[in-house]
Amino acid sequence: MIYALCIVLFLLGLYGVLVKKNLIKIIISLAMMNNAINLFFILLAYRKNGVVPILSFLQPNANLYETAVDPLPQALVLTSVVIGLGVTALMVALAIRLYYVYGTFDITKMRKLRG
């Protein structure tokens, strides 16, 4: 059920990218899509009443494998967040340059390319 909500968030972002006319709103929608997938990844690793996946010599936990949450998706999401940051930064930079050139954020007014 909660996975379906992530997909709904993803589709909402996709709707925003396809429908909105403002560059900034498109960028926000893309960030939303990215966060929806990050959330999905994190939820995959979730385990009810799970423990922190750290091997400790002070407090050995024999059944860590059965009780710990999966640490791998968290590592992947960290990477994915950083990549998303890079993409967003590049998009914002391009939007600023486009604003200097056209004097507007409206994509329907940017019409140098056709066909």
Binding site: G86, M91, G115
Partner: protein, 488 residues
């Protein structure tokens, strides 16, 4: 197999060093030529058998695995040679732009990403490399900084990010089904009868189809590929769409899913539609580079037809067309860039008679045009012939007919441009035009050589047995089962 990480490490290191050198032109040029030629030599030095490299020495189920087999060896060689040629060409071509070292830095980042995609055997690692390659390419498309370049880059960036996110969703679904990211392990554990697997296939086909400009998703390609500087267009059209889109789809369909015929037929028909749409779009263009970019859509369609047939002959045709298209389309982009460099003009209706002042560019683009049109001894002929035979042999004669129609349209399209650009009377404003410098002509001549001789890849038995058939065999051997026997 210790060579494998070098394909990522060398260009990454050069990109870093180039970021610090600003003004010493000769250091930049020497470093660029040394790096790219070293990579070409390395690509030929890789062994022929399948081999693995385990990053950090971890067990393949835990760590990242790099893999080399005949298929990615073939693609590695193509990528290194093409980037070598395009970088050599850039040394002359990029003189009119500023910040040359930053340009080469981006090209090397893109190269590192592409090499990483080709050699990796881990899904998330694939995603990271894909983002490195495509983010560098977004920046390179916007490199000129003019209005239409920024606009094309933004469009490419939005659609590219959507496709990347679809792919990331697919990877998340794969992880949820198999608890693995290693491709061999996923191939063993993925259950094809599960409906989630079909969701994964759909999401991946949409994501990688968008990256490789398959028919319903082709709208970004003409803008992005024609707005970039010419050598970057050559890399984008020549290898990036194939490595990022087609290669990964090939691996996923044939080696990981072990797909059956129904979805492949759909892909073949989408390929046929994109070849028709691409060539029709190309017919309406007045801009030299934009026409070439539109035509890339149609050639990608050919490759997808070959993949969609799923027969050995179809795959041979598709792989051969990947190699051939990267040779002749880059050659044409480079000659279009040479014309633009000399005249400052891209609309071919206002040109004419350039053959008198630019004989080498004329010769190069003539060879490119005959090759893309499929004139017999040149390379384009062989792959189209094999694709048509494969269509007819597997009973899809309508697909074969579409290939023939598109080939005829291509053949009528390009002599027209040759006439507009190079033949006829020289307009008075172009009387003082000079031929481009030798650093731009030599790379074009190298690609001319490949256009003439690449037919040998399929005709000469020794080359066919060493380079080509093992690559097709790697795909046809089916799912990767039992590659790593022991569980952790």
């Amino acid at each position: 197999m210790g060579l494998l990480p070098l394909f990522v490490a060398i260009p990454l290191f050069s990109a870093l060093v180039l970021g610090f050198i600003e003004h010493k032109k000769w250091i930049i040029h020497t470093l660029v030529m040394l790096t790219t030629s070293a990579l070409v030599i390395l690509a030929f030095a890789t062994p022929l058998q399948r081999g693995f490299y385990f990053v950090g020495g971890y067990h393949p189920f835990v760590g990242i695995t790099l893999m080399l087999d005949p298929l990615n060896r073939l693609l590695l060689i193509v990528v290194q040679i093409l980037v070598f040629v395009a970088s050599w060409y850039s040394i002359g071509y990029m003189e009119k732009y500023t910040a040359k070292s930053k340009y080469f830095s981006f090209v090397f980042l893109m190269l590192a990403g592409m090499n990483g995609i080709v050699i990796t055997a881990d899904f998330f690692n694939l995603y990271v490399y894909m983002e490195i390659a495509t983010i560098a390419s977004y920046a390179l498309v916007a490199y000129g900084g003019k209005a239409h370049e920024l606009e094309a880059s933004f469009k490419y960036l939005v659609l590219g990010s959507i496709s990347s996110l679809f792919i990331l969703l697919g990877i998340a679904l794969i992880y949820s089904q198999t608890a693995a990211l290693n491709m061999m392990l996923v191939a063993q554990r993925l259950d094809v009868t599960n409906p989630i697997t079909w969701l994964i296939i759909t999401v991946f086909a949409a994501g990688f189809g968008l990256k490789s400009a398959l028919f319903p998703f082709h709208s970004w390609l003409p803008d992005a590929h024609s707005s970039a500087p010419a050598p970057v267009s050559a890399i984008l059209s020549g290898v990036l769409i194939k490595v990022v889109g087609i290669y990964v789809l090939l691996r996923f369909f044939f080696n990981i899913i072990g797909i059956d015929q129904a979805p492949l037929t759909l892909i073949a028909w989408l390929g046929a539609l994109s070849s028709l749409v691409g060539v029709l779009l190309a017919m309406g263009q007045h801009d030299f580079k934009r026409l070439l970019a539109c035509h890339s859509v149609s050639q990608v369609g050919y490759i997808f037809i070959g993949i969609g047939l799923g027969t050995p002959l179809g795959l041979i045709g598709a792989l051969l067309h990947i190699v051939n298209h990267s040779a002749f389309k880059s050659l044409l982009f480079l000659s279009a860039g040479s014309v633009e460099h000399a005249t400052g003009e891209r609309n071919f209706h206002s040109m004419g008679g350039l053959a008198k002042v630019m004989p080498w560019t004329n010769a190069a683009s003539f060879i490119g045009f005959t090759s893309i049109g499929g004139v017999p001894p040149l390379n384009g002929f062989w792959s189209k012939l094999i694709l048509i035979i494969a269509c007819v042999a597997s009973g899809h004669w309508i697909l074969g007919l579409i290939i023939v129609i598109v080939a005829i349209m291509t053949l009528t399209l390009f002599p027209k441009i040759q006439k507009y650009v190079f033949l006829g009377d020289l307009p008075s404003k172009f009387q003082k035009v000079k031929e481009s410098p030798w650093s731009m002509i030599f790379p074009m001549l190298i690609l001319c050589f490949f256009c003439i001789t690449l037919g040998a890849l399929i005709v000469v038995p020794v080359l066919r047995e060493t380079y080509f058939l093992p690559a097709v065999q790697a795909l046809l051997s089916g799912k990767w089962l039992g590659v790593f026997q022991s569980a952790p």
